[in-house]
Symmetry: C2
Subunit: 274 residues, 2 copies
Amino acid sequence: MSDNILSLNLATTRKQWGFAEAVDGCLRAGITAISPWRDQIAAIGIDEAARIVHSNGLRVTGHCRGGMFTAPDDAGRRAAIEDNFRAIDEAAALGADCLVMVVGGLPAGSRDLPGARKTVLDGLAAILPHARAAGVPIAIEPLHPMYAGDRACVNTIDQALDMCAELGDGVGVAIDVYHCWWDPNLAAAIARAGEMHCILAHHICDWLVPTRDLLLDRGMMGDGVIDLKAFRALIEAAGYHGPQEVEIFSAEDWWHRPGDEVLRTCIERFNSVC
Amino acid sequence: MSDNILSLNLATTRKQWGFAEAVDGCLRAGITAISPWRDQIAAIGIDEAARIVHSNGLRVTGHCRGGMFTAPDDAGRRAAIEDNFRAIDEAAALGADCLVMVVGGLPAGSRDLPGARKTVLDGLAAILPHARAAGVPIAIEPLHPMYAGDRACVNTIDQALDMCAELGDGVGVAIDVYHCWWDPNLAAAIARAGEMHCILAHHICDWLVPTRDLLLDRGMMGDGVIDLKAFRALIEAAGYHGPQEVEIFSAEDWWHRPGDEVLRTCIERFNSVC
């Protein structure tokens, strides 16, 4: 059975709407799945956020985000792990499908990428018992290689799956077309993720040509060069038929438009090009 | 025997100097290896450029660049191949170690990345007989995944090596730290390139954090986060002991400085961090 519905990652309307407004906007548009960010939850309080989610029967396709394990010192790393425990508890309260991990890039002052990757693996291992006990799947999100320095040193699906294999139960991957579309090994990597039963989320947007900013110039589906239908076919062939979560950071375009217009466009494009 | 010398890719001083001025600047600085761009050669003429190279005993570590095979129609693709023939002839006249390939991204209007990759392979196969006859090795340069859409759909060393294996003699890879440093499979890929005797060039610069522009914000060695010594160790362990070619596109920084200062800094950093 497919539940191939649209979920709205609330970063998409972060400049227009807080959490409650975004939920109202989604309900007006007929969207019943969301993925919030921790700062949006913090602004309203986790109890109120969870009440809104449950009273409206919303599906939470992911909680954004945990991770950032690569502090330059032990105290920072311990603090990151503690913070991940809180994120796990929030995800549990929201009934989220997973807690999304942006794992962290190089520690400040470091050039040791293999070392950073080891730190990430250690961090994930440290939070997994808490996540398993809370019933919250951990979704490692490989980020585009252009973020290896400052955001995430996990940069391909295969690399994330290698970590999953090492970590055991309770951890999988969030596959975002923006981060992975270029991968020459994409088809095999998605198939492998399916065989490992590791696909926890499928994020969509588009890659614009030209891309004017490394972080905040993601495109609306259909406005860029990613073959979203082909990508979806790979994901479905791998056995994942869950929601497609729209996540668009767009400082110069979509964040300037009325939220209702953004959601209407997301739905149109979801129905036509995804 | 090692000839681990610094070569200057003339893009590094493209805003300051034309070809002849750049050669003069290199000679003043004691740099005896260069890698020019076709527009710089065209401005002075290939005969004069070749005369300058040979009369000064310069090593040409690469000619930049051929490729760009992914035109949207057959006529465009044929024209690209013809243009590559001319680039091969120029490289031969210069006595270049290789002709560097920036293979092209998605054709305009296309989202078919596997198709673009097939077009590149076909284009390379079409130019190889001419390159072999001219004695010019073809160096496929995997470009960073952020260029998959508009510049090069070959994005990892392994992907380039798969192409080399299919194409046979006369083709290898140009390994640029900027494009490849993030690769989780970097060490194995470089070792594989060595086993295949495919390493034709080693380009250096640095990855800045933050990076402010996708194309024109490369850093001077030592100013970014790439572990250049560790990278070099992988390359040497794979059997390559040739020049390290400095290639820095820097619209907001190094292109604004006097050429002599840029070269002096390149040499200092080459001696200290590479």
